[in-house]
Structure formats: structure tokens, C-alpha cells
């Protein structure tokens, strides 16, 4: 019983820490959603972006498969999660692990540099990703506005 009381106290303290604390956020500039020019939409609502990158929507309106590409640049990725996904990195990672271990989705492709990322998106039908707003885009890639 004493141990149960101690556990309750521990939980209470944890709650106080949660209320008082928080994860500091580093603002990294705006991000934009980009896609291969084969993608049959020119706009995506924030809700659509969220549902796509959480694996809940897998096809474009023309039934082409959505190919998700993740940006490994820490600041861009963090800003993208804050602005669109409303999840922490670990929660986002957990969603894809769930998809992966239940066979309900493949781990998205990840690219280390902006150059690699835009090159991949330009060459891959149905590809969608995100990038810092000041990156120059090649042919084959378009911006999806909200």
C-alpha cells in the first residue's frame, strides 16, 4: 500500500513537471510542400498534408500512389512537424514504425541534402516532400500551396 502511495506521488510530481516544463522550440524559417509535377493537385490543405505524411492517405485523386520523401535536415524537419503534423519527432517516427511492423506502409524515403531531395522528387512520379522556403527548385518539381 505504501508503494502504491509512493507511485501516486511520483505520478503527481511527473504531472507538475509536465505542466511547468516544455520542449524548447527552435524556429528554423518557413517550409514549403513540394511535389513531382505529375501530382494531379496544385494545392494541399494542412489537414491533407498531415494525413498524407501520417500514411492515412496513400493515393492521389488520380489513384497514383503517393511517394513520401522525408527531409533529414533537422531544422526543416522540425519546423515541418511543428507546422503541419503537430507531433514530436518520436511520435512521428512511432507512427511509421507502426505502419512498418503491421505491413500497412513502407518507411518513407529519407534524403540527407536539399539537392538530393529535390532531385529525387523531380524524378519520382507521385513524390511529395517539404523543403526550406528559400531553396531553388529544378524542373519537374512544383510547390503545393495551401
Amino acid at each position: 500500500m505504501k508503494f502504491k502511495f509512493c507511485m501516486m506521488i511520483a505520478v503527481f510530481i511527473i504531472c507538475q513537471v509536465m505542466i511547468a516544463g516544455g520542449i524548447p522550440h527552435a524556429f528554423a524559417g518557413d517550409v514549403m510542400i513540394i511535389a513531382n509535377t505529375s501530382v494531379p493537385v496544385d494545392t494541399l490543405s494542412p489537414e491533407d498534408v498531415k494525413n498524407i505524411f501520417l500514411g492515412k492517405i496513400v493515393k492521389w485523386p488520380n489513384d497514383d500512389r503517393i511517394n513520401i520523401v522525408l527531409n533529414k535536415s533537422a531544422d526543416t524537419h522540425k519546423e515541418f512537424l511543428r507546422k503541419y503534423i503537430k507531433r514530436t519527432d518520436s511520435q512521428f517516427d512511432s507512427v511509421w514504425r507502426q505502419n512498418m511492423f503491421t505491413g500497412q506502409g513502407r518507411i518513407p524515403v529519407r534524403k540527407n541534402t536539399d539537392a538530393d531531395l529535390v532531385s529525387y522528387v523531380a524524378q519520382t512520379n507521385g513524390a511529395v516532400s517539404y523543403i526550406a522556403a528559400d531553396v531553388k527548385l529544378p524542373d519537374g518539381v512544383k510547390i503545393l500551396s495551401e
Binding site: 520542449i23 494525413n51 500512389r65 512511432s94 514504425r97 505491413g103
Partner: protein, 394 residues
């Protein structure tokens, strides 16, 4: 009993070799991932845990401490075309006398993607009950070592694990009302006579199970992701035709008119996660002796008294903790310690790196459902369970 124990010993030795070979294949395969990443996705995991109770035995010989607590799996998925994908997962686990590292096909299906709102899967499918039943095999997907037993009871895990059949599922956008995900599945249930369910019946009711016959099951799950960030609701249902457990001593137990439903709510915002789930079950249990029903032992069960509430928080990118209170009742209006289990569980998870995690957990228990006498031959209504686990996934 001796010949059976010797045979079991030899079986365990063979299974040990199987484990070594399995782990070797996993490690070799993992090293080749990058070469085959574009063709076949390969992922896997392996976990090893330790259980200890201060009294009672629970799930294993925990009074002395037990390392008979591990899981491993490897899965393969690939797209055959833009619309068709294939996948399967091999899985093995050991928890006390259950599993014994026997490799089984955990899931295996072909999936056809017609539209976002209509997809079809056929094969061996995980049963979607509650929010987490289809995820319970994967230690890396949660904070705690054990999911709350009020909905995810380890003893009867096999009874709600998978079906062989087909499933229609999809995602329907509802505009400002959010998103609805649905699953409807039908197929044949699979419960092995060597399952935890059988072992539990043997230990609690003295039934030596020779066969388990199940009919078809119709299952469903709806998950509503609301417009409020992080808030979702879920309702799931499981309806098997019947469950017939055949014993070697002329005893047969038939469960019929079985309906099970779960009602769930989850709120996840940034590093905080709150979850509550409730389990409703209805069914009739009729024991037969050499074909004749034992009238005074027929049980009509209908209650929704099992539930849990949970709170979790990620403090840093390598540390998170959770607490849950779980209340499990097996039969309504049966006021015996062996009919219920209350569980206060505090868990800590440490993400060592993207592949390795470690967990520590303590349970303060009241009740004796699923509990067996400890070394002094007694069971105790108030007891503690400690658990530790290390997992690797890729």
C-alpha cells in the same frame, strides 16, 4: 508426466537452435538492407525481458525471477505493382510455458489499393480490437512493457490474435469533421491447442486441451480522428461464431453468442498522451461432460466493467514515462479474488539510440486473475510484479 517433460525438454533444445539460426538470419539480413531497399522492405526486432514477483507466480515462474520472456520477428513487404503489395511477418515469442520460441506467421497478406476509401487485404490478418491489439507484439511501439490487462490480457492473447480471411478497410475524409478510418474483416479464427489460452484453462480448470474449434469471426474497427489536434475515438467489435474447447477427459466447454466490443479515446498532444479504453463482453459458457451440459455451471456473462486509464509523457528525446490503472473483471457478479485483477503500473522507457530501447516497470497488483501459487504454495491478493526489457529493432 516424465516422458512428456523429457519430450518438452528436447523440444526446447531444438527451439534454442532455431532461435540462434533465426537471430543469425536476422542480423545477416539487416546488414543487406540497403542493397534490397528498393525491392523488398525488411524490418525486424528482438526483445529480451525479465520478470519478478514478490509473491505469486504470474505468466512464468516469476517468484524465482524468469528470463522466459522474449519476442522476435522479421517482416518482408514489397510492392508488386502500384496497387498491389505483399507482406508477411515471422514471429516467435516465449512467455513462461507459452510460445516457447516457436516461429509462426504473425501476419501475411496481399493488399490491393483501389482508392483511399477502399482497400482490400486477404491472408492472415491481425484482429483490430481496441487501439493497440494489432500492435501489441511490438515492444518498441509503446512506453510500457505490458499493455493493460483489462483489454490486453496476456493469458488470452492468442484468442484475439489473428484470423485467416479478408478485410475491407480505408480512410474517409469528412472535411471539417476530421477523418474516419474503418476496417471490416471476416474469416476463420485460429487458436492453437498449445496456446496461452489452452495453458490457462489447464492450470485454472484442470482441462487438458486436445483441440480448439472455432468458427468464423466478423470483426470491425472505426477510428475517428477528430478536428481537435491529437484527439481520436475508436470503437471496435469482435463476434466469433463460437468457441469450442475440447478436453481429453470428456469435458468440453462451448462459448457461444460471443460479442466483444471496446470503446477508446486517445489524446496525444506534443509529448503528452492520455488514453482510456473500456471492454464490453457478452457470451454464454456451457460446459459439457461426455456430450451432456452441466446445467448448474452455465455462465451468462454480460458486463463492461473492465477498463483502464493511462497517462504518458516524453520528457526528453531519450526518456519517457507512463502510468496506467487497469481494472479487469472476468465474470460479472463473481466476487472472488481469482475473478479480477487491478493493476497500477509505472513504466520508464529509455531510447538508447534509434535501434535500442530499454524499459523498467513496476506493477502494484490487487486480485488473483491469472495468478498461480508461488513456491510456498499460496496465492496472495496483493502483490508486486517487476519487469525489465531490452529491445532491438530495425
Amino acid at each position: 508426466m516424465m516422458p512428456v517433460e523429457v519430450a518438452r525438454g528436447e523440444k526446447q533444445m531444438n527451439r534454442s537452435y532455431t532461435i540462434v539460426i533465426f537471430v543469425f538470419v536476422v542480423m545477416v539480413t539487416a546488414g543487406n538492407l540497403s542493397a534490397r531497399a528498393e525491392d523488398i522492405n525488411i524490418h525486424g526486432f528482438i526483445s529480451q525481458g525479465y520478470l519478478k514477483t514478490n509473491q505469486n507466480n504470474y505468466l512464468a515462474e516469476t517468484d524465482d525471477g524468469s528470463f522466459q520472456f522474449n519476442e522476435m520477428g522479421i517482416n518482408f513487404t514489397t510492392y508488386v505493382s502500384d496497387r498491389l503489395s505483399l507482406g508477411c511477418q515471422f514471429y516467435a515469442r516465449d512467455l513462461g510455458d507459452v510460445g516457447n520460441d516457436e516461429i509462426v506467421i504473425n501476419w501475411a497478406f496481399a493488399e490491393f489499393e483501389y482508392k483511399n476509401w477502399l482497400r482490400l487485404r486477404v491472408g492472415t490478418l491481425k484482429i483490430p480490437i481496441g487501439l493497440y491489439n494489432d500492435l501489441r507484439d511490438f515492444d518498441c511501439l509503446r512506453t510500457s512493457i505490458f499493455l493493460p490487462s483489462s483489454l490486453y490480457n496476456e493469458w488470452i492473447r492468442d484468442a484475439a490474435n489473428s484470423i485467416k480471411g479478408m478485410e475491407f478497410f480505408g480512410t474517409v475524409g469528412m472535411g471539417k469533421a476530421g477523418l474516419m478510418e474503418y476496417q471490416f474483416q471476416t474469416g476463420a479464427m485460429r487458436i492453437s491447442p498449445d496456446s496461452g489460452t489452452s495453458l490457462f484453462l489447464e492450470k485454472t480448470h484442470g482441462i487438458i486441451v486436445s483441440d480448439i474449434r472455432t468458427g468464423n469471426a466478423n470483426n470491425m474497427r472505426l477510428v475517428w480522428t477528430t478536428p481537435i489536434d491529437g484527439l481520436r475515438f475508436c470503437v471496435a467489435g469482435l463476434h466469433p461464431d463460437q468457441l469450442k474447447i475440447i478436453g481429453t477427459n470428456g469435458l468440453t466447454i462451448v462459448n457461444k453468442d460471443i460479442y466483444t466490443a471496446t470503446f477508446s479515446v486517445e489524446y496525444a498532444l506534443r509529448n503528452l498522451k492520455l488514453t482510456a479504453e473500456n471492454w464490453w463482453t457478452k457470451g454464454k459458457t456451457v460446459p459439457y461432460v461426455f456430450g451432456k451440459p452441466i446445467e448448474n455451471q452455465i455462465i451468462n456473462n454480460d458486463h463492461n466493467d473492465s477498463f483502464y486509464v493511462s497517462l504518458g509523457y516524453r520528457f526528453t528525446n531519450w526518456f519517457e514515462a507512463s502510468f496506467y490503472y487497469s481494472n479487469y473483471i472476468e465474470f460479472k457478479n463473481v466476487h472472488e479474488d481469482s475473478n479480477e485483477l487491478k493493476d497500477h503500473c509505472l513504466s520508464f522507457r529509455f531510447d538508447i539510440n534509434p535501434f535500442w530501447i530499454a524499459k523498467l516497470e513496476a506493477h502494484v497488483m490487487e486480485g488473483e486473475f491469472g495468478v498461480f501459487p508461488d513456491n510456498d504454495g499460496h496465492t496472495y491478493n496483493e502483490w508486486m510484479l517487476y519487469a525489465a526489457k531490452v529491445s532491438y529493432s530495425f
